[in-house]
Symmetry: C2
Subunit: 438 residues, 2 copies
Amino acid sequence: MSKKSFKVGLLGLGTVGGGTYTVLNENAQEIERRLGFPIQVVAVAVQNIERAKKIVGDQVQVFSDGLAVVKHPEVEVVVELIGGYTVAKQLVLAAIQAGKPVVTANKALLAVHGDEIFSAAAQANVPVLFESAVAGGIPVIKALKEGLAGNQIEYVAGIINGTSNFILSEMRDKGLPFNQVLKQAQQLGYAESDPTFDIEGIDAAHKLTLLSAIAFGIHAQFNKAHIEGIQELTAQDIAFAEELGYRVKLLGITRLVEGGVELRVHPTLIPSKRLIANVEGVMNAVSIKANAVGSTLYYGPGAGALPTASSVVADLIEIARLVQAPSQCRVSTLAFQYDRLQNKPVLPMEKVVTSFYLRLLVDDKPGVLAQLTSILSKHHISIGSMIQRQLEDEGEEAQIIMLTHSCIEGDMNKALAEIETLDSVLDKVVRIRVEDLN
Amino acid sequence: MSKKSFKVGLLGLGTVGGGTYTVLNENAQEIERRLGFPIQVVAVAVQNIERAKKIVGDQVQVFSDGLAVVKHPEVEVVVELIGGYTVAKQLVLAAIQAGKPVVTANKALLAVHGDEIFSAAAQANVPVLFESAVAGGIPVIKALKEGLAGNQIEYVAGIINGTSNFILSEMRDKGLPFNQVLKQAQQLGYAESDPTFDIEGIDAAHKLTLLSAIAFGIHAQFNKAHIEGIQELTAQDIAFAEELGYRVKLLGITRLVEGGVELRVHPTLIPSKRLIANVEGVMNAVSIKANAVGSTLYYGPGAGALPTASSVVADLIEIARLVQAPSQCRVSTLAFQYDRLQNKPVLPMEKVVTSFYLRLLVDDKPGVLAQLTSILSKHHISIGSMIQRQLEDEGEEAQIIMLTHSCIEGDMNKALAEIETLDSVLDKVVRIRVEDLN
């Protein structure tokens, strides 16, 4: 029953595509020793045909038209690594319609057009695997879909954007402002020339949307995600957080709660002693809380040619193994049977419960603190710890830093609106959410 | 093609068996939503039948004879959770001979009798899954077998015994001696009344043997493992390590090297800034280096009823999915095709290359240091950093703590033998291996 080889069509031969080709070749022996037969790239689609031919040589057919690869009679699985929405979506849907399994690293496509793609895949009974779309080389999708399959997932919280984690690590380490570190990250190649998706939290929200779907068995709801980036963070707040025993991370959090799921990306204070708080530089980590196992964490490189290719190739090996099995032998694309996905609305942020870090610039006069705490208390917000510090050069002003206990975000909004009308409060209040992740 | 339910026979209803029964019941809806059909325990074998009936009620048949469960006509998978070698082995082999898949948490059995069990399973084409045997609830077996399947694994290094990690954490935290912390761990239920397997590294070596087999596609070689426990460690060395920027952990390390594999469990200094160095208390973590992805880490609870059951149930779900698929659709039991396992000998410790922490008690006289470094240098050992400290109450004696660069263990043995003959060296030299894990 053994077969000659499992034949792959690659769409794209850029960073991840090239990495995938390299890994398949370099580790060919080991892969065959695992599978019992080899995996072979037989066709690629690229923009620059000459460049591609130099990479793949004569053994692989090179096309400029992606559809030629999708429809290629030898191709048994289509690997989409071109990115973007339009062409990538057409090709993925064409592969599904042709009954060919799809492997893709395209988180943006799946997060935004997931419903269309996953329902087409379910109808056609075609697997769509996307381990490489979330957290690069960390096999966290497999952990959620299979390793923790005996659990009800309670929450997933992840550092899933390496660029912003690098920037935050540098800001903390060197006390430098955001803009300066961003420039440095761009020079090092850790940030794109247009860094919007990374620093504004959009890339993290794409990935979080997929994690949320497979954690809870729900549809992808990217358009409902609450997204804040790191562009407003100051080195000062990072330092105060440190003083209070916390690290600031851009966290993607999805949690099952009464009435729905939370789906939010924002800067977050995490107790320094948590393992995830110590994930530095471009590395990623995902923390998962589940009802049987408790807390587990998955750590590794979240981007890069070879780490991402590691996940692409893992998906290819899985498909190669299962392509001839009855479809019920495969793990469902979204971890749960497609007809058993649930409609869980995303909780509005006003209803989310977290603690808060607050920094207020106030007149350094008697009675101010009493005013503040009285307003907070009226809105059911109590204070856990506090720092008060006079500004060095302006004796009349002071900074007050507070950590609150858990409260409803809507209450915090009301309290801060009221606080900001006070004469003794001299600036907009800085607030950053706090997650204990215990 | 859907089926009514997948029927399980449980051998043992102790901590993990009871936990498995609980998780299957509590998460039954979620499991069915994933699989498309339910998993149902139909028979259990226990010593105390009355106690078992109180737990499982009338819906489940209770036997005192394990074979009755193995041979039960309804049972489709056998879960071995009784532990030990003799009876467990008989029952596992009987299940395999009956063509029934096996799930087991029995690391000792698989590490010591793996060859016999895995070859029987390969011959009979029956899956044997053992996620719960290593690192409790952390799905690290799945990560190695599938998530990183596109890689050549370079090394696996793990904190895979919670008891000893708890003891080391407490010794460091409170500066207490080993014996005192061990007693405390026993009172807390973190250590058995006979703690030998945990503190002497045997349990970790069982688990490491399995990790090694699936990382490299080799046979289980527990009897070749080098095993040192934590019973000789002093709070003083832990404190000096800390001063040098290191944590001491009981690490299981298996590494692919020229001419074979390393397979060793021993106390190890790890740079404090590594994530794995910050794994405290009874938690486990496994760090894996592989040629495509680089370094990844998997963290979570390494023991306990529900965490271990989480892994047992994940294995059950996998078998339920794949039981009717052709056998080539399943991942091989040891990650690689059984007929492609390789014979990699375990490297003798004399040939292993590591750095060392050394602590020497010497006469505080001129020339001693020159003697020491000259002997080390003669054996190709160079020094990275050093602390020299006079003993408070005895002015004539001093402690010298050295971190060496990488060297061959055989050279270190010779150098220390020579050093210990010096008149100015007043006691046996303390040495602990150092791993950078970068």
